[in-house]
Symmetry: C2
Subunit: 136 residues, 2 copies
């Protein structure tokens, strides 16, 4: 079951300028700054209602977000929907024709289990589903 928009992932070239817009001008609360070396990026989590806007800034050009910025410029990189059971949703969505980018979910930002679907099977959106993992 889809619960809500978890976050919008926004690729940014200049994090200070993006924070000036999203934190200072829009007034969104900066909840967390997360360094994710495995993806060569730093993520800035800004709260908005029940969701977040995550500013994604690459630490290297040779990274997923670095290449995205070089090709398309700054803007929305992906949309993440929070689900209650990611394996069940993967199976259900795959059966409906959405194409997962990996066979299995992996651990992403904030320790969530995440899985992406190819934009050509979702109407042009890089769609993430994510599940909050309860701490034991």
């Amino acid at each position: 079951m889809i619960k809500k928009i978890d976050h919008l992932g926004v690729a940014v070239l200049d994090p200070e300028r993006a924070l000036a817009t999203y934190r200072d001008a829009l007034g969104l609360r900066l909840d967390q700054i997360e360094d994710i070396p495995s993806q060569k990026l730093v993520s800035y989590h800004l709260a908005i209602g029940e969701s977040h806007i995550e500013l994604l800034h690459p630490t290297e050009e040779d990274s997923v977000i670095g290449k995205y910025l070089a090709k398309k410029g700054p803007g929305i990189h992906h949309v993440a929907l929070q689900v209650d059971d990611i394996e069940a949703e993967r199976d259900r969505l795959s059966a409906a024709g959405l194409e997962p980018l990996t066979a299995e979910p992996f651990i992403g930002a904030n320790g969530k289990k995440v899985l992406f679907f190819h934009p050509r099977t979702t109407g042009g959106i890089l769609l993430e589903i994510c599940q909050v993992v309860e701490e034991e």
Copy 2:
């Protein structure tokens, strides 16, 4: 004050296929189908948490969404944030360097007051602010 993500506006070429993804596969509730002749589009409002995904299908090629699709293909067209006082937010955001596309808000989908800001001043996102107008 920014309250929440009101909706994501998604430009779609084929509404039946998009509904198969967003309504049937993802299981989102189709709340409303809105014909907006002034913008030459039909909008499909799908509920997700406190937000909506609005599928935007042009009724004519010579329309804002028709031209967007011809240039960029299907995908996220804009992000709308709900505010409590649209004129106050316009003034505050304009003062912070965001560039409004129109001087005054106008009436958009569902009778809301809406105003857009140019992507070059928001980090690459066509940003809408909208305010629900209480019925008198």
